[in-house]
């Protein structure tokens, strides 16, 4: 299987993650888009692990998962906190840092 296909697939997923991050206003969906981008990069890591014939890429992918898990825990806590404070999960409402 030609690794180019995996690269293109990962790029597509990453781009979809970008678009999702940019156009969605629900904090949870935005967060999910970030997860999608992380997964796309994981796919690349695994692909390149196979391309180069060693397991370092897979180990890196593992680390990404661990970090993503930690990140999700903290990120979701923050979203919950914001929701408690403002009764909203809309990222557009969190715009106090403006001109």
């Amino acid at each position: 299987m030609n690794p180019n296909f995996y690269v293109v697939l990962a790029a597509i997923l990453f781009a979809i993650g970008i678009v999702g991050f940019l156009i969605r206003k629900n904090a949870l969906v935005v967060f999910m888009s970030v997860e999608l981008m992380l997964n796309a990069s994981n796919l690349l890591l695994v692909t390149f692990s196979r391309v180069h014939g060693n397991l370092d890429g897979q180990a890196a992918s593992f680390f990404v998962m661990v970090v993503a898990a930690a990140e999700v825990v903290v990120g979701l806590s923050i979203i919950v906190m914001i929701y408690r404070a403002r009764q909203s999960a809309n990222v557009d409402n969190e715009n106090l840092l403006r001109y």
Binding site: L22, L97, Y99
Partner: protein, 629 residues
Amino acid sequence: MAPTGLFPLAWLLIAVPLVSAAILLLAGKAANSWGHYLGTLAPIVSFVVALALFADLLGRPEAQHAVSVPLYTWIATGSWSIGVGLLIDPLSILFALLITGVGGLIHVYSIGYMAHDPGRRRFFAYLNLFIAAMLTLVLADNYAVLFVGWEGVGLASYLLISFWQHKPTAATAGKKAFVVNRVGDLGLTMAIFTMLAMFGSSSFEAVNAGASKMSPAWVTLLGMLLLVGACGKSAQVPLQSWLLDAMEGPTPVSALIHAATMVTAGVYLVIRSHAIYAQTSAAALAVAIVGTVTLLAGAWIGTSKDDIKKVLAGSTMSQIGYMMLAAGIGPIAYPFAIFHLLTHGFFKANMFLGAGSVMHGMNDDVNMRHYGGLAKVMKITYYTFLMGYLAIIGTPFFSGFYSKDSIIEAAWEKQPVLGALALIAAGITAFYMTRLMFMTFWSSKRWADGVHPHESPAVMWVPLVLLAIPSVIVGMVMNAWIAGWLAPAVGGEVPANPSWLPHLSLIGVVTLVVVIAGVGVAYMIFGRTSIPESVPFTRNVFTIIGRHDLYGDAFNEAVFMKPGEALTRGVVAVDSGVVDGAVRGSGALTLGLGGGLRKLQNGYVRSYGLTMIVGVIVVALALIIGRLV
């Protein structure tokens, strides 16, 4: 040569009036009661010193006539240095004598003239300051120190012209004199800079020695710059406009500054720079032309004015013009310029003081149409004035005859056109001075009922008498001697066979005829008919132009003031439009950019994310393109 005998004390000449001026200014009201005596004493002391030095010089062989008295080093930098030193030579000692002698008499006169003026002490302080500055000017041994005196004279004249500063006209006249003098100063300063650049020194010695080595263009430029300076100080066309207005000052000021001394500074400067003019016929010719134009212009103004002081001021312009003409003719006429300067110093001071005496008797009225018949009531003033009158028109054997005749003769020889013009001006001089005499002293009385003309006190008429005597005899006394005396100092030529008698020549006779014609015409116009008390209407273009000072002020206003104002407005407009506009514009631009970019800070995370991603794409593109290239 090195100073010996009395000469190391020559600095006293300047120091005495300067210290006196300082005392009078600083002592305040305490000096009110005795200040004028101290002020009068100072120039007399200086005169005595000058007289002693003069006697010393007379007793020496001709080779030792120039004594330089170095005092101290003023400015010393790498390649050049300027010392403060005095140069006492035949030229400067004559000036010193004239300044202190005539100045001293004017001081004495002022005691009487200013007796009731509350600012008399201040007046004497300024007079002393003027004497000190003028002496610095003529005694300096280099142009830089001369310039110090030059500026001091300008300052003193400003203070004295606007002495009655409560009169707006006097304040304006002082300011005008100051400003016009600055134009001349510009020429002199640039000339001094040129000298420093070319010779590394501004001393007369170095300049005289170096002048012959300069390129023609530079030496002509230098001559022209010096001429500009001389024009400013000596009220020569085109910088003549201040002199007539300067008559706003008290009459002794007019006599001292604007007749006998200050206005002669320009002549002195040109004569002092004879080595430069010897190298450049163009600049010398310019001096002569300026002199001729001025002598005609001054005479013209003198014919049309009714204000006695302004007539005299016009005649001063005219006589200074003769001196400049002589200075421009060349070495042969240099002594005549100084000769005429001296005789003019006496008779013009005499006449100005006489005019002051008349005004004193006429309740400070200066309009000659209100005079008439004063010869009978002010006998001393009349006779002394008459001596001055006879001298200025060139009556044979009076002082003006010798000096003016010599100038016209020399001009006729060297520059026939200018000589002819000077000849005509001599006739005009005779005309307007005769007119003045008719309107003031002869004809029938026209003064108002309340006015009681009377002779002035002795303190005023004694100086008149003392000035009238040299007005008569000084020409006769000095005629044979002065050319030889001045020759080494001014590079002039010694006449072959000097004598006290005027030597007869065709041009001398013609001059005499022209003068008699001028007197006759004046008699026909003013002597046989009564003089109207108000200014008669006239269609005579010459009279109208003369009454308006040849439109000198209008010319200055149209050519310099209006464009200057327009330029100033333009500069202001450029400043507020372009400079301020740029400053404000950059501020507004920054503000606008800030206001525009501010909108990007909308607080939406998504927007920031978009910006970030665009940035990432741009950077990545740059990297990729960079690697491709």
